[in-house]
Amino acid sequence: MNFDDTPQEAAFRAEARAWISANAPKQYEEELRKSSLGRTVLKGANILEVAKAWQKKKAEAGWACLHWPKEYGGRGASPIERVIWQQEEGPFGKLSGMFIIGHGMCGPTMMAYAGEEQKRKYLPPLASGEKIWCQLFSEPAGGSDVAGLRTRAEKKGDDWIINGQKIWTSGAHYSDYGILLTRTDPNVPKHKGLTMFFLDMKSPGVEVRPIKQASGQSDFNEVYFTDVKIPDSQRLGAVNDGWNVSLTTLMNERMSIGAGVATGFPELFEFCNSLMLEDGPAIEDRSVRSRLANYAVKASGLRYTSMRAISALSKGERPGPENSIGKLVAGSMVQEVAMYALDLQGAAGVLSGLEDAEVAGKFQAMLLRAPGTRVEGGTDEIMRNIIAERVLGLPGDIRVDKDVPFNQIPTKGR
């Protein structure tokens, strides 16, 4: 049991560290370091532009999309090298947020299903951040039940005509391309009538409407499709095999471990360590210490669980569904931490303005963003199902729509 790099890993780390030190946009380091869930702001700069510039620089020097093959704009690095990079990139890694879906899910799906010419055309600009991709899966009628989607694709000659609506699409408002899961046969059970495509988000008939979230920010969108034309050459996988294609996408989501999930604990500890209550420093209060200790062991438990997963990766083992733990635990924890930090401030805990708030609205922003974390990428309940079924081997949920043709599944509960 040790925490040492192998000689090759140490060499890679040194090279990465030197390059980052010479090239990273250091003027934003402090702000990025201080940013927390729901609150990444760069004063006087457009974060999209800063992020794109950093990604481009990385791509030119061979540090973009480390896990991708070189011919598509990546580096062909090992999973452990990818983790080392993330450790070294530190706060600058927060600039990669808008690329995560493209790099982690859309790119690998294209690699698995697109033609060679298409891969060479679309993947390098995705790797370099020049083009941004989004993933058009969820719908008003199909969140956790992804296969329940209703957006139709109908074949007309060499094209497909798309009509319908997607929702919760992260980054659609600044995306150039998207991968799109559609229904192509409503007469068969729901998983058997889906087909995957990729499309240009600027295509006629695509309308993106940002959704204003509870936090006041707009990271997500509704996307409407009205007679949008997609050439058959942009189909990914066989007709009606879209469910299997989407599983490739979702499996890749799981590979993006090691980045570390936000728990809110470092922020809470720092806050309690400096906050003065009527009877003295908050951290000397017995009940505060108890709460802090509880959060501390959850945060460290997650950190070391992720290290165990990295160790397994470095031995060539694939990460399993065990990694669902991170999102499940961190999601609730960040919410509780934010509530507790506000509670400690008493009546003034409601204030979020820079001037009046104890920590400049940090915990208020966390509070309002946290509910999203518990829903996106699979709800807490879906995560628990995954753990129960795939790790513990318990029976799957009963699915009454399993063998029913999609167009005969009831659409209303009452």
Binding site: M1, F3, F269, E270, R384
Partner: protein
């Protein structure tokens, strides 16, 4: 980085699990639980023969000299089997105190006997209610003898010797406390077994009346040695708690697969599935914290005090969580004497209170984190 046990260590875990599955079935635990015997002497002998009692004791003192990572692996299996033997008091407390502070002669006298199973040891620290604290120690040492009462003392009624924390000064500082070694069979000590929540782990009251004692470590170093012993024992006991958590989770999972209600295995109901998923989550977080504790213990890292507290808290929570919900999954059957669920529930709650309670370790953790990150 390799944040995992080695293949050899995992083989040792498999060997220990195989041995304990065979020699320590629930039936054997019940012999002790029902009060027929104070501990499983056959199992104790077997553990000595397997080399498990002396796994972290150097070869020169009769042990296997393997190390503390190996001891962590064995500890996990002891917890998984709910072994009714004085392993934790002898190996984690008495042996660790001797290893840390014993003279060569003291080590030579007791460690080989621990490794061979001839001697049971313990730590006599508490004097009634309360958590570890120099102020709480009233038992007096003077002229090479001890006078006072200790309780609860784990396995105190069956132990051959004890490491005893005693008061040797009155300055109000930690340096008022010194440690002593007492041969409990040599006279001057009366042991009274105490009924307690987990009869498979005995507790006793020890009354010292002019009991002969020899110093363990330098005079006035008692509290500092104790703190280190408690940290080391915290990691080791946490591995037992992780083993117990995993076993309780397995029992719940297996029952949920077998038991049919409303025409379905109860494990297909989300309420039950999600309860089991949460048990898995807490057991996994505890295991990961404990791996860090094991690393810190085996390398004697500066991080040990913080890692020990985190291991202890996380494992205590996980074992309580898993053992109580295991009963819940079992429904009414889980609450009966004949099912094994209550044995783990008892052990979880007894383990939570030995070495200082959860709130004590929470306090320790925050103190230690604060030292590292001053405001």
């Amino acid at each position: 980085m390799n944040f995992d046990f080695s293949d050899e260590q995992k083989q040792m875990r498999d060997a220990a699990r195989k041995f304990l599955t065979e020699k320590c079935p629930p039936k054997a635990v019940r012999e002790v639980l029902d009060g027929k015997v104070p501990y499983d002497t056959e199992l104790w002998k077997g553990l000595a023969e397997m080399g498990f009692l002396g796994v972290a004791i150097p070869e020169q003192f009769g042990g296997a000299g393997a190390g503390h990572l190996e001891l962590c692996v064995i500890a996990e299996e002891m917890g998984r089997a709910n072994a009714p033997v004085p392993f934790s008091s002898t190996v984690y407390l008495a042996a660790e105190a001797l290893l840390l502070a014993g003279s060569d002669a003291q080590k030579q006298k007791w460690l080989p006997k621990i490794a061979s199973g001839e001697a049971i040891g313990t730590l006599a620290l508490f004097e009634g209610k309360g958590n570890p604290s120099p102020k709480a120690i009233k038992l007096q040492a003077s002229g090479g003898t001890l006078n006072g009462i200790k309780k609860p003392v784990p396995d105190g009624a069956i132990a051959d010797f004890a490491v005893v924390a005693a008061r040797t000064g009155s300055t109000g500082r930690d340096s008022d406390i010194s440690l002593f070694l007492v041969d409990l069979k040599a006279g001057g000590v009366e042991a009274k077994p105490l009924t307690n929540v987990d009869p498979t782990r005995g507790q006793a009251e020890l009354t010292f009346t002019k009991a002969k004692a020899e110093p363990l470590g330098a005079a006035g170093d008692g509290w500092s040695i104790l703190t280190q012993v408690l940290d080391r024992a915290a990691v080791l006991l946490a591995f037992e708690q992780v083993g117990g958590s995993d076993r309780a989770l397995e029992m719940g999972r297996d029952y949920a697969l077998d038991r049919i209600a409303f025409g379905r295995p109860i494990g297909s109901f989300q309420a039950v599935k999600h309860m089991l998923a949460d048990m898995y989550v807490s057991a996994t977080l505890a295991r990961s914290n404990c791996y860090y504790g094991a690393w810190a213990l085996s390398t004697n890292a500066a991080e040990l005090p913080e890692a020990a507290a985190a291991s202890r808290i996380s494992a205590t929570q996980a074992f309580q969580h898993c053992s109580k919900n295991n009963i819940q999954v079992h429904g009414g059957m889980g609450f009966t004497w004949e099912f094994d669920c209550h044995m783990y529930y008892r052990r979880a709650n007894a383990s939570a209170l030995t070495l200082g309670s959860l709130s004590y370790w929470e306090d320790q953790l925050i103190d230690r984190m604060r030292k590292k990150n001053p405001a």
